[in-house]
């Protein structure tokens, strides 16, 4: 690994006090980007999370703190979604990150200028966050071999893992229009299901589930017909967020053959509002998951030394449930699972090299989700269907309530963070969504 840029120095501190709290997700080393609307305004603006505040990037520009940047970068910063920023070259993004870091630094030009500071940051509590990018294309992968094996064991006990799994990074196109930002209510969907040999019927799903995932936003895209080599693939990742790929298991089970998931997923997908840039994640890069001795080596188009050496990401993920009763009793959310992103069988670079291997074009702001992050232990399973083994081993929440699948009023809360000895812990914020009751049929 090369020397750390100064934006990542663990000693760096901000004039925003809350950013120096060791428990914050958003120290000055993180600087994730998002889009916010200040209460009482209609104006969507690019912002940077810093402690419990948001730095308004337009205000940084107006204060002359980003004057060293290229005008194209400044234009992209004035957009109402991150797509234009995401499409900039890596060097421009680095300059932006450096300039924002300097502006917010306790050693920076406005560290003692309270008047300018007041124009630049607003309390996060006073803002509404939007979906960070206009996602034109959403791809959902299936990169956890434990998840694939768990699901396969339930549906095909004799043959849990299909023969293609260890060769092909399996994925499918998800529905882009129904991506919503954390905090958006998710209505229990209606759909067609079949119970045993009864004729199918139409009604609310009885098996509403979440899937704990990590999303990668595409940076610059590739032209149609030109593939991205695995050696270059990391340059195509702008950054990462948290994803809840809501799933109606009964609708999915009845519809999915032979063309895959459709209405069992397309009612909603929730993303966290803050995108942690790849450049903030350098300290947490680790080797790719080691394959078992009898696993095949990746085909050459999916293999690079560098990706094997540092294509993994040491990121911890947890999912909690807060039921209506728990909310009313002011209880804390109940942690259902905790897992490691680095348990994934395929790296993000492998997903990109595979996705573009046929010439499929990616665009800035496209979302590539990892698929459910499940690890080898029971408490690292990233969906309820796995955690409760299709409902046969229901969970007991801290309120004493039992859960096989999600109930109306349940809020699902996903959190993720990276930590490593000698570095500041950085977090991804939250990806939350509460289940609202179904409409009448």
């Amino acid at each position: 690994m090369t020397a750390l840029p100064r934006t990542l120095s663990p000693d760096l501190r901000s004039w925003v006090d809350s950013a120096n709290d060791p428990r914050t997700d958003f120290p000055i080393q993180n600087l994730p980007l998002g889009v916010f609307v200040h209460h009482g305004s209609d104006d969507a603006r690019v912002g940077v999370a810093i402690g419990d505040q948001i730095a308004d990037v337009r205000a940084l520009i107006d204060a002359g703190l980003l004057d060293a940047l290229d005008p194209r970068v400044l234009d992209a910063c004035k957009a109402t979604r991150l797509n234009a920023l995401m499409g900039l070259e890596r060097s421009s993004l680095r300059s932006l990150r450096l300039a924002v870091s300097d502006a917010l630094s306790a050693e920076g030009p406005i560290a003692r200028d309270a008047a300018t500071q007041a124009r630049i940051v607003i309390p996060a509590a006073e803002a509404r966050l939007l979906t960070p990018a206009a996602v034109e294309n959403y791809t959902d992968f299936y990169a956890s071999i434990e998840h694939a094996t768990n699901l396969g064991s339930m549906f095909r006990p004799d043959n849990p893992l299909l023969p293609n799994y260890k060769w092909v990074p399996i994925g499918y196109h998800g529905r882009a229009s129904s991506i919503v930002v954390s905090g958006t209510e998710v209505k229990r969907p209606l759909g067609q299901t079949r119970d045993g040999e009864q004729p199918p019927s139409f009604g609310p799903t009885a098996r509403l589930d979440y899937e704990l995932e990590v999303g990668a936003f595409v940076a610059r895209g590739n032209r149609q017909g030109e593939r991205v080599r695995i050696e270059d693939a990391e340059d195509y990742v702008f950054g990462f967020c948290l994803v809840n790929d809501w799933s109606a298991r009964d609708i999915q089970a009845w519809e999915y053959q032979p063309l895959g998931p459709f209405l069992g997923k397309s009612f909603a997908t929730t993303v966290s509002p803050w995108v942690v840039m790849s450049d903030a994640l350098v300290p947490y890069r680790v080797p790719a998951r080691r394959r078992a001795a009898d696993d095949p080596a990746p085909l050459p188009y999916l293999f690079s030394e560098r990706d094997q050496a540092e294509g993994g990401l040491a990121m911890v993920l947890e999912v909690s449930i807060l039921s209506q009763r728990m909310r009313e009793s002011r209880m804390d959310p109940y942690r259902v699972s905790i897992g490691a992103f680095n348990d994934m069988y395929w790296t993000t670079a492998q997903l990109i090299a595979h996705h573009t291997s046929n010439g499929c074009n990616l665009r800035p702001g496209d979302l590539l989700a990892s698929g459910t992050v499940s690890g080898p232990t029971k408490d690292s399973r990233g969906s309820l269907i796995e955690r409760t083994w299709r409902g046969s081993e229901p969970l007991t929440l801290s309120s004493g309530e039992s859960r096989a699948f999600l109930a109306d009023g349940d809020e699902v809360i996903i959190r993720g963070w990276c930590e490593r000895q000698g570095h500041r812990r950085i977090g991804f914020g939250e990806c939350r969504g509460r289940v609202a009751p179904a409409d009448a049929i």
Copy 2:
């Protein structure tokens, strides 16, 4: 059926002579919308196909011929894609159609005004056509029971049609970014395939195929969480085009379990440039395909009397191949199949009611493709894998060349039209694409 609007009168004639030729796809009764760039210009404009000419809608506005329309309609007409137009209310679209019909009519205000005429139309040969809408979401259905049965017979001889088929309008999310307009070359994709028990390998597809489909563009959309009832579903269809859903059968066969088609399809999907509005298709509405006596009735959310009575469309579809050798010998394309859109098991209204039944939101300009249109006879099979029965019964082209799957240099040409006694025949133009050789690995 209600009385025909005057735009559909079979006696209506245009001052554009070629529009009165009975062989044209684009008589004045049709008036399909598209987006064109005049040679030598960079300016994308909304146009209407009329005979062998294109009427420039901006020029119609400038000539004062659309003055009766709402300013919002005129704004939408000035956009560089049809999405804004597609999102207008049905009544606005009818007013636009009526105003364009009057402007181009042999009885209309400029029928004898050669100077104004010259400002309004340009020869289609002098324009390049663009993808008509910026497609944010592309869904591909599987609505031909013959196609599903043919494919199933090859892959699961004992159980060709899966148990969900007659209950659920099966579909999946396609890749939106790689949609291209007719005339765009399609490069033979690379991909991972497996031959029998050999280890998989990476290289050019050896089984490149087309799929003959019809696409419906979504008009106004629905809000997330609010479904579209089947009684209202037709109002959500702006119009129709032709689609070639290119498929690499060997890539698809190895990747598709359990999450459906991905890279076997996502390298390219070709659409025809002209969108025939639903209002032009009124004379060709026919009853939905009759279900067999032992087929289940559609569930209530997929059933309406009106849809059963007039939810079908009497549209003929054909696909031809023009090989490199045929092109060099100036031969005509060889017709591989001819079929009827009304052979589909599910109507377009059923597809929309199903798609939104879980609250999934559709947006103006979204594309819903029908899936391969295959009929009960051999010569109505809409893909090569069906037509050559997985290559076991190769076709002989008129040049004497043999085809199991597509060869480099082959151009696939899809055409479609509606005709009915007592009405003008209207056509959908062409959806063409030529296969270019694969890149080196």
